[in-house]
């Protein structure tokens, strides 16, 4: 059969598909560098910078200077990232996803999360100019009610104020345009991810959700849970059918209050129980593993996994500030932490592969060589806390 005739037949056979099913299969299952994000998703930061996702290292542009479509559709950085991905080549934008420390079946990294959401959809990945919005990550304000000790001005307005840092906010006009874009695509979007700042205090989140008529659109929200039932966003969220609340909690009781500076464990628990009892929200626990909570990690996970029956738990390893990385934990006490985590892993159901993978990550991290002294860093990041860190993080003294 001649080459042209064969191609014509293939074209006719697959005229309803943008890629052939075989090409698409290999893209999603064989290609180890492919991610849907540059074709289908983007993240907006509080100062208007745009990235492919929360993992993406490069700034693609700023929505205060250019439109989203200008940033995403005809951008040499985006074209480079896409081309590399299609060729199964690691791109510098994606080193964190490429450097995944766990390479086991079933362990879901952020790229897997995004890919899985839309792998059943026909999107023209061969076209490196194509952009077809399917998910969005909105960190579009740093308004926050807490000063978490590992946070930074771009994600906490209180820290920005303390440090005298001015974040040029996303303009109202740009917020309107992004909102319009989401509203226009709301029936094909697979995830709206709201982070911050504290999303429950960010006014544009309320305005966005008010405009959405698709009550089934999946919404994922990171929250510190310090708001009450009269919160405007909460009231609107209750009208949506697919809400995932990702609750940030790194330790229990006093240490929780200390790490999430300004938080109150009693308020957290009260709201946690309220959500469990009064909503159909999915609950996920998100823990940041650092030198500050290394010896509390297991108690924290056990509390939510065993006592509160929350199986969806993510543990992210803290890399910044680097001094607070768990690898810098006191050398003589590291083995104790490793033993605790290994024991905990035996109590996790085998199907909870993500949690097991996350715990393995923690062991890898704490086993790494100590590189920095955390004491000066703790002095610095806790200067707004009411108590010196030595009184709460006693294992680090």
């Amino acid at each position: 059969m001649g080459y042209e005739l064969r191609n014509t037949i293939l074209y006719l056979a697959f005229e309803n598909n943008i890629m052939t099913p075989k090409e698409k299969y290999h893209l999603f299952r064989t290609n180890k560098k492919f991610c849907v994000a540059p074709w289908t998703s983007f993240q907006v930061y509080a100062d208007g910078r745009v990235a492919t996702c929360s993992i993406g290292k490069e700034t693609l542009g700023n929505v205060n200077d250019k439109s989203v479509s200008q940033i995403l559709s005809n951008n040499p950085i985006v074209k480079r990232i896409k081309t590399n991905m299609l060729n199964n080549v690691a791109d510098t934008n994606c080193t964190i996803c490429d450097r995944r420390s766990i390479d086991e079946d079933g362990f879901e990294y952020y790229r897997d999360h995004l890919n899985k959401m839309i792998e059943d959809k026909d999107i023209d990945y061969n076209d490196i100019d194509n952009f077809d919005l399917r998910s969005i990550d909105l960190h579009w304000s740093n308004i926050c009610n807490l000063r978490c000790v590992m946070c930074r001005p771009s994600q906490s307005s209180l820290i920005a104020k303390d440090e005298g840092v001015t974040i040029t906010p996303v303009t109202k006009d740009t917020i309107s345009k992004i909102t319009e874009m989401i509203v226009k695509n709301q029936y094909k979007i697979r995830e709206i991810y709201l982070s911050g700042g504290e999303p429950f205090y960010i006014p544009q989140n309320v305005e966005l959700l008010k405009k959405l008529s698709n009550k089934d659109v999946p919404i994922r929200i990171n929250t510190n849970m310090h708001w009450n039932e009269n919160n405007r966003l909460f009231k609107i969220l209750k009208t949506f059918n697919n809400v995932n609340l990702t609750m940030s909690v790194d330790a229990l009781h006093e240490k929780f209050n200390y790490i999430r500076n300004g938080a109150d464990w009693e308020v957290f628990i009260k709201n946690f129980q309220y959500i469990k009892k009064n909503t159909n929200f999915d609950i996920r626990i998100n823990t940041i593993f650092s030198v500050m909570n290394a010896d509390d990690l297991c108690a924290n996970i056990k509390y939510f996994y065993q006592e509160q029956n929350i199986k969806n738990i993510t543990i992210n390893v803290l890399y910044r500030p680097k001094e607070l990385s768990a690898r810098n934990y006191p050398l003589q006490k590291k083995q104790l932490i490793i033993d605790q985590i290994e024991k905990l892993m035996t109590q996790i159901a085998p199907e909870d592969v993500n949690l097991i993978g996350n715990l393995k990550n923690c062991i890898t991290q704490i086993k790494s060589d100590n590189q920095h002294d955390y004491k000066d860093a703790l002095d610095r990041v806790t200067k707004k806390n009411k108590k010196p860190w030595q009184t709460v993080l006693t294992d680090l003294v």
Binding site: A13, N17, T20, P21, K22, K24, Y25, F28, R29, E119, D120
Partner: protein, 145 residues
Amino acid sequence: MYEKILFNITYGTECERDQDPCAEILLNQQIVIPKQPIKNNQQVEFELDLEKDTQYKLTINRTNHNSKNKQVLSIKSFHADGIDLNRVLDHMYFYPQYPAIWYKQQIESGNELPEKQKGWRDWGFNGQWVMNFETPFYTWLLKTI
């Protein structure tokens, strides 16, 4: 034809008394590989011509177990166009044909025997292993594994 997919199966066997298990492969009741005795590590390769948007049933008929001697037929590996389908096997069913007398004894003893077993790769009983799939094959594969 819409799609051509090349399948490759490697069998394993465990036999007493030199009586090999037999296998026959069918696609929607059409014989693809005729019934034949199977030796340990034997490979079988066949190409399927598939129509568009069609449901298919790939069946392996496992026979020649006389219920007296130990005899196991296994799928050691299963590939399509070079892709390892090991995880697909987890989703497929084997429908055992239990020896009639033994089956009656088991039921009378209160032992319930399943009509089908998910994920079985090692078949002691005669029976049918079935893989239901649809075209486009690769779209189905993406959904399945």
